[in-house]
Every structure is written in C-alpha cells, then in structure tokens.
C-alpha cells in the first residue's frame, strides 16, 4: 500500500498577474484516497490540471511510477493511466451518454463506430453508477446536472486507470448520489487505484480520505493522515487563522407572515403551499431534481407557472417577470453564479448596481457618483476581496463572486431574499462569512428562503425546513423537530419508499 504511484516535485505555475503554484511537492500512494483542500483560488485545480496535462508547469517535474513524465494533453495523461474529472463539467451535451462515457476509447473499425458494443459496455458502467434506468443512447444534455456529473464519473470509471483525479465531484450531487460515488471510490481503492479527491466539504474528506493535503495561496501548508487531524485544524491551516463560530445563527423570526404561496404549480412542481415570516430563514431541502430551483425561479418570475397564488403581506400579487419580483422587493441569488448570477465581463461596480439602476437614474442617465458610492460601500460592507470596484467579475474568486451577487440584492434592501445553493463551491472561510451575513439580514427583518443540498447548513441555519420530493412539498419541519433522518425520510420519493416497505 505504501508504494508511490505519482510524485510531483517543486511545481511552479504562473498566470499573467498571479503565481498560482509556488513549488508544490507531493507524493500519491497506490490505493489511497488522497484529499486536497484549500480556499478558493488556493491552486488545487491548477495543480491537478498540471498533473493531467492541461497546463504545463513553469518549473518542476512529475514522476509516474518513478519515471519522469510530462503530458501534453488530458488524452496523453489518460493513455498513461491518469484520468481526471474536472471541476468544470465537461460532458458533451449533444452526444449520447454512451459516447460521453467512452469518448476517446471507442472501439472502431476503419474509423467507424460500433454502436452495439458501445451500448453494451455503457450499460455495465451505468449499472455500477446505479442509474441503469438511463438508456445509453440518451442525449446527455437532457439529463439533470447531477446525472451529468455521474456520467462524468462513469467516464473515469470506464477507464483502466492507476490514478483517478476528482475535482469537486460532489458539488452538484445530493446525498444519494454522493453515497453511490463513495461506494465506487471504495471499490476503486480495493482495486489499488489511487484517487485524488478535491472538495470543499470537509465531512466528505473525513468519510473517505486516507490522507489530506492542505493548500493555501499556491503553497502546501500541511499533510496529515486523516485519523491524525481534526476539522478545526484543517480549517485553520486553510484560512490561515482560527475560524470561530462557523455557523452563526441567533436571529429569530417575527410573527408577521410576509409571504404566502398557495397551490403553486409549474412544470417541475405541483401544489406547493407554504408561508414565510418576517426575519425568518426558511430552508428548502430535497434530493437532486426535487424541483426546488424551478419553484424558486417561478416564484421570481423567471419561469412561467401554471396555477397558484402568491400573497405579499396579505395582498395578492402577480409576478410575471423578475422585474415584477424586484419591484415587490424580492431578490434571488441563483444556483449558478457564473451562468445566472453575474455578468462576468462586467465590472464589480456594474454588477452590483445592475438590478437597481432605476433607483439611481435621472432622466434616463445613471447618476455615476451615486453608482460609485454604492459599489464602494457594498464592497466594504461585505468585505469583497477585489483590487478595485473596476475589476471584472470574471477575475474574482468563487466566494467573492458570490458576495457580489449578494451585494446586488442587498443594495435594493429586499424584504424577501431567495438564496439557491448560496455556498456551492465556496471555501469554508467565505462560507462562514455568508452565514454571518444571512444571520444579520434575518435580524434586520429580511426574510430568507435558502435552497440547499447541504444538510449541515440546512440544519444549522434554518428556522424551519421545507422538504421537497418529486416536485411536491412533503413536509415543513420546525427548528426543534428537524433532524437529518427526518429530512431524508420526507425527501425520499414515495415510489422508493413504497418499494422498500
């Protein structure tokens, strides 16, 4: 178990303006699950991109089974037994599941594909992934993001590899798929495959990792056997200081009901009714594809809804577009900040003021002085780390991007704020700050709906927890009755429950 499969020595990598890696040394052993953790921008992805041949390092060497190697491309690395699941989803949406899993390893006859063989081999992989109900010829883009992520994992599993690298594979999975993934990782490990595992979710690290490397600012700041370290120590090394009170929650909801949703129906959800109180944090939990995002998007006017009523402070309102919602003082931080939350090529300033432009205009012109003042103020208030408010959002780290999205809405002083997966892909330091912000907002009387697939944050931050399964609201649990088991019970689709009993 202790022989070294892969070793990197003194890896340096520089991008224009940033040194992403400053002399990284690390060894990876046969059959181990080796976790790498670190804040956003610590250089984790860059390191694995160098190992897998996407980037070439400015300095340093890679040794595979003692032999010095340098890969020119991911395909090159793959042919040497190193397979990578990249952080950015890299499925090909317009191709079939089978083609996605076996891309680069198709059996061919004079350049022609043999679909029969391809589908047969795909079935086997899908069974391993416990998603055998999907047909190999399904177009991948029609599947949910979670399934697409599983397909990518399948792609790695399908390869005879010595080393499999996974960069945040669970960021769009919920409990069930995560369990399947861990089962697969277990099997891989038994077969002597080395798994390099990057995640911001420390509880996962403690479940499956053998060793953990901690990175900060492009440097390796520690390596531990997993049973010789505690979570607090890892966090301390990651953020460079002690992080106290990770979850801060001392806000209390008031009695006044601010929002009532009655009999709400949309394409992916049915007959949803709930109410939200002033200053409340209402958690929304559920399995992947439960329809939470769709529900929120419909409430916000982004997606159409078929039937249902919304009451704001007892008055019936009609929301047909996001602008309507904004005018009713409702804000929404979407699930995917890059695709939906931000205009990446615009500056921090322009992003922050975009939804509120109507409030700082005079005769159609933007009051620039006002705009600059607001942007500066928000950057300060939320301590957004950016060289200036003129920086493009593109160049910010994930956590700071998320804060910019929050700043957009806080500027409008909303009464209701919907947060969809507010901490996805964000490091612990930034997470803690966002929890703190949520708590402060709630105290100020802002009502928050928080959709999250991370049970710990649902449990810690919610005043009440709404649970959805297959598009229906199955339960609304009070803070004192909520537990992980209960949530999972209500989140599991009935079809599965009835089969089990």
């Amino acid at each position: 178990m202790s022989d070294t499969v892969l070793e990197v020595k003194n890896i340096w990598k520089e991008f224009p303006g940033v040194i992403a890696l400053k002399g990284i040394n690390e060894t990876f052993l046969k059959g181990e699950v080796h976790a790498i953790v670190g804040e956003n921008g610590a250089g984790k992805s860059t390191l694995i991109k160098i190992i897998s041949g996407v980037f070439s390092p400015n300095k340093g060497d890679i040794f595979l089974k003692g032999k010095k190697v340098r890969f020119g491309s991911p395909i090159d690395a793959k042919s040497h037994g190193i397979v990578t699941i990249f952080q950015e989803l890299s499925v090909l949406p317009n191709l079939s599941v089978a083609e996605n899993i076996f891309i680069g390893q198709e059996k061919t006859n004079l350049g022609f594909l043999s679909y029969g063989d391809l589908y047969k081999r795909t079935k086997e992989i899908l069974e391993q992934l416990e998603i055998a109900d999907i047909s190999p010829s399904t177009i991948t883009g029609t599947l949910s993001v979670a399934y697409q992520q599983l397909i990518e994992i399948g792609r790695a599993v399908a390869t005879k590899a010595d080393v499999i690298i996974m960069d945040e594979p669970t960021s769009s999975l919920t409990e069930n798929e995560v369990k399947t993934l861990f089962k697969i990782i277990g099997k891989l490990k038994d077969n002597g495959v080395t798994v390099i595992y990057i995640s911001h979710k420390l509880d996962e690290i403690f479940q499956i990792a053998d060793r953990v490397t901690i990175m900060r600012d492009g440097e390796k700041v520690g390596i531990y056997n997993i049973d010789e370290v505690v979570e607090d120590r890892i966090i301390e090394l990651m953020v460079g200081r002690k992080l106290e009170n990770y979850y801060i929650k001392d806000s209390k909801p008031r009695n006044e009901v601010i929002l009532q949703v009655k009999g709400f129906n949309g394409e992916k959800f049915r007959n949803v009714s709930f109410d939200l109180r002033k200053g409340e944090i209402l958690g929304f939990s559920g399995l992947v594809g439960a329809g939470r995002t769709e529900l929120m998007m419909s409430l916000f006017g982004f997606l159409p809804y078929d039937k249902g009523e919304i009451y704001l402070k007892g008055k019936k309102i009609n929301i047909k577009s996001p602008l309507d919602a904004i005018n009713y003082n409702i804000g929404l931080v979407p699930e995917d900040r890059k695709l939906q939350g931000l205009i990446l090529i615009m500056t921090v300033r322009e992003n922050i003021t975009l939804p509120g432009l109507d409030r700082i205009k005079i005769a159609g012109f933007i009051k620039l002085a006002e705009e600059y003042r607001i942007a500066k103020q928000k950057v300060e208030e939320l301590s957004i780390k950016t060289p200036s408010i003129e920086q493009k959002a593109l160049n910010l780290s994930g956590g700071n991007q998320q804060k910019v999205v929050l700043a957009k809405w806080l500027n409008l002083r909303p009464e209701i704020l919907i947060l969809d997966e507010p901490t996805r892909g964000i490091d612990v330091g930034a997470k803690a700050e966002i929890y703190k912000l949520m708590n402060e907002m709630a105290k100020e009387g802002i009502s928050i709906i928080m959709v999250s697939s991370e049970l710990p944050e649902i449990l810690a931050m919610s005043d009440r927890v709404a649970v959805m399964a297959e598009g229906e609201l199955t339960a609304v649990l009070e803070r004192d009755e909520v537990s992980e088991e209960k949530i999972m019970h209500y989140a599991t689709p009935r079809s599965v429950l009835s089969k089990a009993s």
Partner: protein, 312 residues
C-alpha cells in the same frame, strides 16, 4: 440523438411536401420528372457547398468564404485547362487543392490566430474573390475540351451528373458525420468546446478539418459549375454564401453548434430550390421572388421553433 434529428427533419419535410403539393396543383409542369430533375440540378451546387457548411456550423463556426472559394477553384481549373492545356484530371485536382487550401487557411486563422470564424472567413471571402480577379483579369475563360464539359452536362440513367455528385457526396457526408469517430468529434466540438478539449478531443485538428472539408466541397462545386456552364469566371458563386447558410439552417442546423444533419441540409436546399423554381412556374416576378424567399426562410425557421416548443 437519432430520434430528435428525425423529428426535426420531419418538420422540414412537411414544409417541403406542402410546398410541392401546392405547386403540383397550381402549375402544370411542376410535377414532371424533367422539371424536378432540373430543380435538383439547380440546387446541386448550393447543396454540395452546404454539406461542408453544415459541418462548420455544427462546430459553432461559420464559413462566409465558400462562394469565393467556388469562384477561385473555378478559375484555377479553367486557367489550367484552357491557358496551360493541362490534362483534365490534374487540372481538376489542382482546383480542388486550391479550395482545400483556402479552407485550411480559414482553419489556421481560426485555431492558431484565434480569429472569430465570421471575421476569418469574411477576410478570405474578400481575398479569394480578389485573387480570382487577379488570375483572370476579369475575363471569362473558355472553351474547354468536351471530355471536361461532358462531366458537367452529361447524365447517367437520366440523372444529371451534378445531381449524382450531390447524392454521392451527401451519402458520404452523412455516414461520415453519423458513424465515424471523426464525425462524432465534430458534434462534440460544437456541443461544448472546452468540454471536448478536456475530454481529449483535438479541437484544433477537428476545426481545421471541417474548414478544409468546406473548402474542398466548395472546390467541387466550383469544378462542377465550370464543367456544367463550360466557362470559368472570377465572379462565379458571388453571394452564394447566404444561400448556402440558409440551406443548412433551414435544414435544422443550429448556429449555436452541436446540431445538424446532412439530410436536413438537403431538405433545406430543396426548399430553396423548389421555391425558386416554383415561383417562376407560378409567374411571380423576380422582384417578388426575393421577398418570397425571405419570407420562407423566416417562416421555415419560425415553424420549426414553434413546433419544437420552447426548447432551450
């Protein structure tokens, strides 16, 4: 994938059949084999270029230079045959080589110099046309040996040769796109370029390949048109790029990349061709024809959109 594309093509097929039915009823000569074969002949030059354009658009690119490439290939073949008395086969091959080279340059500009395809091929549109003028001094080049013009004007089993070329090339292109690894890679690149790259697809190679194919097919069109007309001209194919793109897009190829089939493109070209032919048979003035063609382009795509519902 299969299923979706078939459905897509059915939409276009419906439009085509409705159009043909209407013309069959309202005009006497439309549904004669002679007329239909002529309509096919008329679209063959556009359709052959549109096969290449389809591949380019599947990669989310665009090739505005195909009309110019047709022109310069035509001129090269004509000059070699006529002025330099080169034998037929090497002359034709030189013309195809010229087309392919122009396509390779497009690919090179797009992959190596990172130019947007629209710009790179717009530049080549201008350069190619200019070179064709330079080579000929603007004069048409003819005559050619009969062996050459026979290729363009001859028939086999009653079917004009250019139509046969179109059919054979369509079958090859269809099989290539659907059943070969390279074909699947073309879809992969258009579906998500970065993902394709990370999945180990040699994206640049694929892109260069499709632009080269587009150039090669424009060369074939140039060769066939020269042989059919019996004259090589610097302004041949001028403005054809819009027809070619329209054929592909009416046929269901998405300008966003990742989607498109050769079958659809043929149907798209057929709609345009039948429409032109039909408007003449109906006695519609040429001026109104332009209006009608614009309306059909818009209508065909809008119909497809509405039928497809609010797909993303």
């Amino acid at each position: 994938m299969k299923r979706i594309f078939q459905i897509k093509e059915i939409g276009i097929l419906i439009i085509l059949l409705v159009l043909m039915g209407f013309l069959g009823i309202t005009t006497r000569s439309f549904l004669t084999s002679e007329n239909l074969l002529t309509a096919l002949l008329n679209i063959s030059f556009i359709a052959i270029m549109a096969f290449g354009e389809t591949m380019v658009i599947i990669t989310a690119g665009i090739d505005l230079s195909v009309g110019s490439i047709l022109g310069i290939s035509s001129v090269v073949i004509a000059l070699l045959l006529h002025d330099y008395h080169m034998a037929m086969v090497p002359a034709i091959l030189s013309g195809l080589l010229m087309g392919t080279t122009m396509g390779l340059v497009n690919g090179f500009l797009i992959t190596k110099l990172k130019l947007p395809p629209f710009i790179a091929t717009m530049g080549m549109l201008s350069i190619g046309r200019g070179l064709a003028y330079v080579l000929t001094g603007g004069w048409p080049i003819s005559p050619f040996p009969e062996t050459f013009t026979n290729i363009g004007q001859g028939k086999l089993f009653g079917i004009p040769n250019p139509v046969l070329f179109m059919i054979v090339l369509a079958i090859i292109a269809h099989i290539f796109l659907k059943y070969t690894v390279l074909g699947r890679r073309i879809y992969a690149v258009g579906g998500n370029l970065n993902a394709a790259r990370l999945s180990g697809v040699k994206v640049d190679k694929i892109l260069i390949l499709v632009y080269a194919i587009a150039g090669f097919l424009a060369g074939i069109s140039g060769f066939l048109m020269t042989a059919w007309l019996g004259v090589g001209q610097a302004n041949a194919g001028q403005g054809y790029e819009l027809d070619v793109i329209a054929a592909a897009v009416i046929g269901g190829t998405s300008l966003m990349g990742g989607e498109g089939t050769i079958l659809g493109t043929i149907l798209g070209a057929a709609i345009m061709g039948i429409l032109r032919n039909g408007l003449i048979l109906l006695g519609v003035s040429s001026f109104w024809q332009q209006v009608a063609i614009g309306l059909v382009i818009i209508f065909a795509i809008a119909f497809d959109r509405l039928r497809g519902g609010l797909r993303k």
